[in-house]
Assembly symmetry: C2
Homo-oligomer: 492 residues x 2
């Protein structure tokens, strides 16, 4: 597991940076709303939606000019930390590992933000936090940055600041913020938070001009938000004080675990903001979307003449206003209207757009069944490359394994399976017991059960092998690691 | 290729048989209307729809008590003959091979029926033909048989007889037959054929009581229909006479080919029946459906409380009146109404029920693209078992191969690929060049390029192997066969 907080020493000061400004990216998510593309192990922030970067990569990337990577902290759980780290390392211009703050369990945003605040206080008592959801889309990066800097500016006066999005339609899926009197140019006191409205109210808000969408992006000093937690969530505050004392000692992980096991889940909106006094909103035109479900996809992806979003191997005849999303598999659609069709190698979703929220019911059913289709994809990314399960039968499993040039899997053994490897592209450097040799395309090798082995791509092009596993137990957790470039204990 | 007509010597006379009665099963079909379940290589009659048997197996099976297998003839094309033969051989109670009459090209039903008639005349000048589509569903077998026997009875008087289905709804998808005066109990002269009506007319026909659906099942003496062809389709008749003279000689295949290349396509309904004089209809309650498209599936398969047909790995939430058809892959559907969803391992169809006919447009697009998804399935049945393509990449292809106990593939070689075989179940008897040896589960063997080899399951349980092919050209036609239990030349 990652250390609770890692500090970076590789900071390079960039123009426009404010020294005390820190990014806190909240990256939880259960992978429900974008099922079947999102899974428990690849929730929405790890997906590319509306761009090449994944949503969390884009979140980090758009901060680039104002907050350096070494002052960016990701709050997440231990299951996602490896995948997120992998994605952030893959970003161009990023060097060094990301800073992670690990939540032992999900307790909504107030405890997550409190945990980040108490960590930042330890690092820098003057810290100003920019709290960012990891899975939103913001198209106007420049607007975003200038709004954040404006927020950082007035945070010095003890405000709890929310970025408000100027509505361009009567959206019923977002909470609203009503602005009060002006503080200074571009910043207002918050008069009131409003829950998701019905259509009529949403139209009223839109026409009124003083209402903004609540973006969930917050800016405040760490000490300001901690004071607000002390006042409005004293129980959480007590826990955070205990954690604060443990930071810098070996006991921090245990302290966080103990506090989080008892704290009740609460959103920062309900637990703090709706009760606090010195609130500000910064209206912004940054072209923001929370892409809360498949339904929202046409607001962030290009549409065809009939208002369909089309991606992948789709045959589309006479469709209208539909989301048609596939990969390599062929999906043929005729005469659909206002439908969502999402295809992945092992699962397909079909529902009308107005039922997009019901995807959670499907995920619930899958969880009850213990079905793999809600947990993982057939292709699983690993730091060294990826593997795809091609077929699983009784006593055998077939995988296609791709290893990046220069990468190697851990030195490992399996108690319950042997493995046949056939190289189909690239050259494999194989450690098999005491021997070490190369295997070329159209050659194969055999790794007996309980034999220490290692697979490496020492070449310059991607290595592709077909692995046929034989044994009575073929799960990923039958692995004993002896040496690992990626310091992993439990997963391959 | 099969001989044009094979005669059986294994006839066993059954009770109720009429000595001169022959079944002529018309099995063409391009695999369009039930795409993606049907493909060019597995058209509708080769599918199990609404039962365990495939439609052509059911067609043969329901004749069992009145026409023996050796007097059953299948009119089809050379591409389908092997698959049909395989399916008929797999039927319980069937011994010996089926009789095939091969059409060199599809020219609609009149030439196909004429070709069968001229063959039957050669075998038995007293032959009475029962002409049956191969892809319909008939639930009341007893009713069907008694209607056929009644038809055979009056065919002696020179009638061209059609079985008419008593309508139970105002169906607009079928042609209608209006009965005239009674000939004898249960048989009427045909007053008129009517094209597919609109809803209003269909309702009128239903209320009138004298209209029947045209089932496409015909009964007549071979000489009667040939006389009618002579009168109404003289050009076809001329061709049939030429074929008739060649039957029994080596020139028959050439003659058929030559005639069919010139004859114009025509249906028996339009070309003969609508013009002929001595027509009869036998009304029947045999619970017939032509299952003309996915739309018709709920008339032959059980439906749930919300009137959905559900098959395979389907999660269904709040769906109504929909056809939800899958195999092992997961398909999750929410809030669908009057929709068709059909999933296969490599392609998915989604369309509203009233667009079921437009599936042909999709198949047209696929044909233009040269896409495999309209030609074959990922799993291909072979006389010795089956293979499934798990993955195909540049210079490699991975197959799972299953060989039935006691079966073997041909003795063969490939010029452009080598093969790695890993046994995952059963025991493989392998011929590899000059050597012969057994390969057990968790063992592998390697077949070099241009090496004669053979795979056999000499054991008692199915053999499963994973084959990894390596080479520059990996198509099925890179095969040279030296010995084959199934006398095949071109396909594996």
């Amino acid at each position: 597991m990652k250390k609770q907080v890692k500090k970076k020493k590789t900071s390079i000061k960039k123009t426009g940076e404010i020294p005390n400004l820190y990014a806190v990216i909240i990256a939880g998510g259960s992978g429900t709303r974008f099922w079947p593309l999102s899974r428990q192990e690849t929730p929405k922030q790890l997906l590319s939606i509306g761009g090449e970067d994944t949503l969390i990569q884009a979140t980090v990337s758009r901060l680039g000019s104002i907050i350096p990577f070494e002052r960016t902290y990701v709050v997440t759980n231990s299951k996602q930390v490896e995948s997120i780290n992998l994605q952030l390392l893959a970003m161009s211009g990023v060097s060094g590992e990301a800073n992670f703050i690990i939540e032992p369990e999900a307790k909504n945003t107030a405890p997550a933000i409190g945990l980040a605040a108490v960590h930042l206080m330890h690092i820098n008592p003057e810290a100003v936090m920019v709290v960012l959801p990891s899975d939103h889309i913001i198209k106007d990066k420049k607007q975003f940055c200038s709004s954040v800097l404006l927020g950082a500016d007035i945070s010095a006066e003890g405000y709890l600041i929310t970025l408000g999005i100027k509505p361009d339609k009567p959206e019923t899926g977002y909470g609203y913020i009503k602005r009060g009197r002006k503080i200074k140019k571009g910043t207002y006191r918050i008069e009131e938070f409003r829950e998701k409205p019905d259509k009529k109210k949403a139209l009223k808000y839109l026409r009124d001009g003083r209402y903004y969408w609540n973006s969930g992006i917050f800016i405040w000093r760490a000490d300001t938000v901690l004071k607000a937690i002390e006042k409005h969530m004293p129980e959480l505050y007590g826990g955070l004080v205990r954690i604060g004392k443990a930071i810098g000692t070996d006991g921090v992980e245990k302290a966080v675990k103990s506090v989080f096991s008892r704290i009740k889940p609460e959103s920062v909106d309900y637990g703090i903001l709706e009760k606090a006094d010195k609130l500000a909103v910064i209206p912004s035109d940054m072209q923001w979307s929370d892409v809360g479900s498949w339904h929202a996809l046409d607001s962030v992806l290009p549409v065809d003449d009939n208002n369909n979003v089309r991606k992948g191997n789709i045959i589309s005849i006479d469709n209208k206003n539909s989301i048609l999303y596939s990969g390599k598999r062929l999906v043929a659609t005729v005469g659909l209207k206002d439908m969502i069709v999402v295809d992945t190698p092992d699962a397909t979703l079909i529902c009308p757009r107005n039922k997009a929220q019901e995807v959670r019911k499907i995920v619930d059913i899958l969880k009850k069944r213990g079905a793999k289709e809600c947990i993982t994809h057939m292709t699983v990314l690993r730091p060294w490359g990826s593997y795809t399960v091609l077929e699983a039968g009784e006593r055998f499993k077939i995988k296609k394994i791709e290893v990046k040039p220069g990468s190697k899997l851990s030195h490992q053994l399996h108690r319950h399976r042997s493995e046949h490897w056939i190289v189909v592209a690239g050259t494999a450097k194989v450690t098999n017991g005491d021997k070490m040799y190369n295997v070329h395309p159209n050659e194969s090798t055999y790794i007996p059960m309980s034999t220490k082995h290692r697979l490496e791509n020492a070449g310059r092009i991607p290595l592709q092998i077909i692995e046929v596993q034989n044994g009575d137990y073929l799960e990923e957790d039958d692995i004993i690691r002896f040496d690992d470039d990626f310091k992993r204990k439990t997963v391959k």
